[in-house]
Symmetry: C2
Subunit: 203 residues, 2 copies
């Protein structure tokens, strides 16, 4: 990304992109800010403001060209510059993420999975091989991977995270319910599902 | 929840709760705001401010009583008042969420799963039965369930959501990458993984 977009703008732009993909699939050529706003139940002035970052002009009474706006969002958010990712923990959640084909369209390229279970090792999931976790540091170095998705059982989350810290991993996307104790040079994103649920259902 | 807490406060309080669970597991009796702040890499004045909502007093040089603070957060966030939930889509992600034992501690009680695959129907996952999706409306009514977790393939997300709308479901927690077109009386929470990833790795 060339400019430092606000967190919530990035969140909304990815949702606009999902809507545009659907419009392209349905062969609808144009979309208005009101249509986007209505699907997301937000204000259309917010949509127009977000789209100014894309430098795309809409036409009165027609709206935005779907393909043009989609490409502009992809350029703005850097989807074409792929980031390599390892999944650590090949349980149900790890496998679900590995099978999530959409990620690649958004510049998130899952290269391989790691697990301690010898029965899983060497299996290939959606084109991605599962390696034994003892191979992790070696492959992080050889493949120059900086991002790990952590989907191990919560009992071992901290110890596996400690192992990641010793490798060249710089970003840990934490899907476990454990708050990890990590040095300041590691960036963590806690996927806080419980917090989302509580916010969502509070009213 | 008795008071309307800000979204980010709820997010942080659930993370403090995870830390407190870990402290209880390790039999550490007290915790300071600095210790919590350091784990989450946030300011300790923020932690103290959030904890004022819990009406728990810390002691100078000792900190908060771990068990007392944990209970106060549970009361504040309403963990004891369980909310019943159905999972719609028993693929890898649906199964991973069904196996997520922590949810019940946070007042999220998954009662059953639904799928179209006859091979999956009647299986029991972590004590939760998989029903054919044709049974959904009937069971929503009989069991008075208002919350659905949507984990179906993206190709059928909208059509399954339409079916949920016809039942008494009021909340859809959408784990698919599709922006759903839904009436205003349905509350949706989009689990926007791509947006989180882009924000997390933008620097």
């Amino acid at each position: 990304m060339k400019i430092d977009l606000p967190t919530k703008t990035i969140q909304r732009l990815t949702l606009y992109h999902s809507i545009l993909r659907d419009y392209i699939f349905k062969e609808v050529p144009s979309i208005s800010s009101q249509q986007i706003a209505s699907l997301l139940k937000i204000d259309d002035s917010q949509v127009r403001k977000d789209i100014t970052f894309c430098h795309v002009q809409g036409k009165t009474k027609i709206g935005y060209d779907v393909a043009e706006l989609k490409k502009a969002i992809e350029k703005l958010l850097g989807f074409e510059k792929s980031k390599d990712v390892f999944i650590v923990g090949a349980g149900n959640l790890g496998l679900a993420l590995a099978k999530h084909d959409d990620f690649k369209d958004y510049g998130l390229d899952i290269l391989a999975l790691f697990d301690v279970d010898d029965d899983k090792v060497a299996q290939v999931i959606n084109g991605k091989k599962i390696f034994h976790i003892s191979k992790l540091n070696n492959l992080v170095n050889r493949m120059n991977v900086e991002i790990a998705i952590l989907t191990v059982p919560h009992q071992v989350a901290q110890s596996v995270a400690n192992q990641l810290v010793k490798s060249k991993i710089k970003y840990i996307w934490n899907f476990t319910p454990v708050v990890l104790d990590l040095p300041d040079n590691i960036k963590v994103c806690n996927e806080n599902l419980v917090g989302n649920f509580l916010n969502f259902t509070k009213n």
